[in-house]
């Protein structure tokens, strides 16, 4: 990387104006919602995603509160079904699938590869509008007679055709969001192929870019399947064509296959970019080049590939042939290999590094811890015999939240803390960030670990009521949510305060070496005054080992 070219990114005539203050034709909010600047779109996504996240956290909190004791506590069973559906739909389709690519991919991809924008800026803006439209359509059912869907986020047939709640808005919302996701993936792949700075060969790309590349392919190749599947459920409800409805000859198991052909790869849409974030954070705070660059890069592709072939492990109890079962089980075990390669490489990067426990690093380390637990419990479910015992119990809920929240969620928090100074040009209070980290991590463990235990003991998922023997675990779990949520509030308040009162951040507060740290914080509208020429490996910390601190 050209560390000498630290001034690039200054405005024309050598004057630097950050992109917030760059002159535009539009005024007020239109400066944002009609901007095709990838940085503004990234921040638009950040604000919209965190809004949806907060709503879904409230639903999650209410669910936990209901489950604090057996029997009715604060809501009736029907409301509970609708709340867990909304929690799932919003978290999955509106927060964690778009999550890192939409926010940090948009903001950082052009910066990391030395480009001025993505390949199709207007399409990028359209993606955001589709995202908002999809979110609106999905949430509108809250206010329609009949109330929101009560099917769970999986919309399983035949219940999703029979129920009288508003399933169609949720389906259409997810369909539109799928479009938004496809367009983002398409945009990123083209950008990575066409817009890398001179000298940036494939193996000089930062690993976050590799993970976005792998994610982009899954978004393009898997999302259309769920698009057509959800559309077919809607058509089934409207016209009764019979494609899924068993009463008319359709096959509900076919629905499950089609749903999971997308929705299993989708969990890799969620986790791969988070792994990319971790691969960026760990070298910076260990002051060491990443261990096994090519292995991490190719393991992203391998995860994308194998991850597309394991969907039926969600359906081991529906009655498939024995051969199909063991093949899917085997493939499930295989997908653990590239995931483990990443974990081993991160840990090896830490070895003999000069580790600095700044907030992003803490979240990254917690990611490795949570992801390891989440990954291993996933393997347990991939084993055929054990799967029968723990299928559809709280064990799966625990596993899923360890990977998705403990993994991707923590990855998002790591990314926010890592790139916050770059995005907003302000530094947050690190002490508060660390306190919020401790609360989030502690609350998280207390909230989700008991789920493994009660799941193993036989507590089924999605149930409104339970036997007294599970009371203690539900109680602990609910108490966990009371620690986790204050942690989240503290984290967000700390970041919002930083926007107002935070100290000015330097161009490179953490000593990173990828291209985004060579330009001022926040970047100028054009990102780079002159497109940089890349000469070095992406994680070259030799200057650090020679005793030179990189400061702007």
């Amino acid at each position: 990387m050209m560390l000498t070219d630290i001034k690039s990114g200054n405005g024309h005539n050598g004057e630097y104006i950050d992109f917030y203050n760059a002159p535009t034709k539009r005024k007020g909010i239109f400066k944002w919602i009609f901007s095709t600047d990838h940085k503004r779109i990234g921040i638009l996504y950040l604000v919209s995603l965190l809004t949806f996240f907060s709503v879904a956290v409230i639903f999650g909190f209410l669910m936990r509160l209901e489950l604090i004791a057996p029997g009715k506590t604060i809501m009736d069973p029907q409301t509970y079904n609708q709340i867990f559906t909304l929690h799932g739909v919003i978290m999955i389709f509106l927060f964690i699938i778009p999550g890192i690519p939409a926010v940090f991919g948009n903001f950082l991809l052009p910066l990391m590869i030395g480009a001025r924008d993505v390949a199709f800026p207007r399409l990028n803006l359209l993606s955001w509008w589709l995202f908002i439209l999809g979110g609106f359509v999905a949430v509108i059912s809250l206010f329609l007679p009949g109330g929101p869907a009560d099917t769970g986020w999986t919309f399983y047939i035949p219940y999703s055709v029979r129920t009288n709640t508003n399933v169609i808005p949720a389906l259409m919302g997810a369909f539109i969001l799928g479009f938004s996701s496809i367009l983002t993936g398409l945009n990123f792949i083209t950008t990575i192929h066409r817009m890398r700075a001179p000298g940036m060969s494939w193996f000089k790309m930062p690993l976050f870019v590799w993970s976005l590349y792998a994610t982009g392919w899954i978004q393009i190749l898997a999302t259309p399947i769920v698009g057509i599947t959800l559309l077919l459920v809607a058509i089934e409800r409207w016209f009764g064509v019979g494609i899924f409805d068993p009463a008319l000859g359709g096959d509900p198991i076919l629905y499950q296959h089609l749903f999971w052909i997308y929705s299993h790869p989708a969990v890799y849409i969620m986790i791969l970019p988070a792994m990319g974030v971790i691969s960026e954070v760990i070298p910076v705070f260990s002051r060491r080049t990443i261990f096994g660059y090519k292995f991490i890069a190719f393991s992203s592709i391998a995860i994308a590939f194998f991850g597309s072939l394991v969907w039926a492990h969600h359906m081991f109890t529906v009655g498939m042939s024995g051969t199909a079962m063991w093949i899917f089980s085997l493939l499930t075990f295989l997908v653990a290999i590239p995931s483990a390669i990443k974990v081993f490489n991160w840990v090896s990067t830490l070895y003999k590094g000069s580790i600095e426990l700044e907030p992003p690093m803490l979240f990254a380390l917690a990611f490795i811890f949570n992801f390891t637990i989440g990954g291993f419990t996933g393997l347990m479910q991939g084993a055929l015999s054990l799967n029968i015992h723990i299928h559809d119990t709280y064990f799966i809920v625990g596993h899923f939240h360890y990977v998705m929240f403990g993994g991707t969620g923590f990855g998002i928090f790591a990314a926010i803390h890592h790139w916050f100074p770059k995005m907003f040009g302000k530094m947050y209070n690190k002490r508060n960030a660390k306190i919020s980290f401790a609360l989030i991590l502690g609350g998280f463990q207390l909230l989700y670990f008991p789920m493994f235990i009660m799941g193993y003991l036989g507590m089924p998922r999605r149930y409104y009521d339970y036997l007294p023997e599970f009371h203690i675990w539900h109680l602990l779990s609910t108490i966990g949510s009371w620690i986790l949520i204050p942690g989240l509030i503290l984290m967000f308040v700390n970041l919002i305060m930083a926007l107002k009162k935070g100290q000015r951040a330097e161009a490179n507060p953490w000593g990173g070496v990828t291209l985004e740290w060579t330009i001022p914080s926040p970047p100028s509208f054009e990102n780079f005054e002159k497109i940089p020429v890349v000469e070095k490996e992406p994680y070259d910390f030799t200057h650090y080992e020679l005793g030179e601190e990189v400061k702007n």
């Binding site: 405005g11 800026p121 207007r122 008319l248």
Partner: protein, 208 residues
């Protein structure tokens, strides 16, 4: 400062024809997979209800299908000719061939309208009592038939709108012999619509 304002105000839109084409191909992949999900459903149910599928497919009018196949294939030809024409700097000819393509698309839709009307008037449509009294295999066959050809027809309509926009771009010289990537990409989309029909036609009309 004024000079700075001017140079910064422009949007980040740069020209990259190869990039645009990559983007279009990626989009076509998604379209193929969208239909792929339905072809998968077709395969599953054909395996499950093979005899009924054979029986039901005899109720379709091969003549309608054949005419529509010929119309679409010809429209792909005129589409390709329109692109070649603009490359050779012949704007008039390009507009003529594009207009012909749109005309064929319209013809396809008119034909489809009559075909579906005939089915509806003989009581075959999703949820009709006539159809619900039939065996399950027949219900599924017609369910797939209406959904798949319906979604295809929707794509023809979208294609028509796109081609119409391209026609006006040609007319106002937005598309010219130097910059015709939009027309090429629209052509790619149109060929995709054509190719999907080429699979739908034998699966529903020809094999018994």
């Amino acid at each position: 400062m004024n000079q700075l304002v001017e140079s910064v105000v422009h949007e980040h839109v740069h020209r990259d024809d190869v990039g645009a084409k990559i983007g279009m191909w990626l989009f076509l992949f998604t379209e193929l997979i969208l239909f792929g999900g339905m072809f998968l459903a077709y395969a599953v149910y054909r395996y499950q209800y093979g005899d009924f599928f054979a029986l039901a497919s005899k109720k379709l009018d091969v003549f309608f299908g054949l005419i529509n196949t010929l119309i679409l294939l010809t429209s792909s030809l005129t589409m390709a000719m329109s692109i070649t024409a603009i490359r050779r700097e012949s704007k008039k000819l390009s507009m003529l061939f594009l207009a012909l393509t749109i005309f064929f698309a319209l013809l396809f839709m008119v034909n489809k309208y009559f075909e579906w009307s005939a089915k509806f008037s003989s009581g075959i449509f999703p949820g009709s009592t006539e159809l619900l009294n039939q065996p399950k295999g027949i219900i599924i066959y017609f369910g797939l038939y209406f959904v798949m050809t319906g979604l295809h027809a929707l794509h023809v309509l979208i294609g028509m709108v796109i081609l119409l926009v391209m026609f006006f771009y040609l007319k106002s010289d937005v598309i010219n012999s130097d910059y015709y990537i939009m027309l090429e990409n629209s052509g790619l989309y149109w060929h995709l619509v054509d190719i999907i029909w080429i699979f739908l036609f034998p699966l529903f009309y020809l094999i018994h």
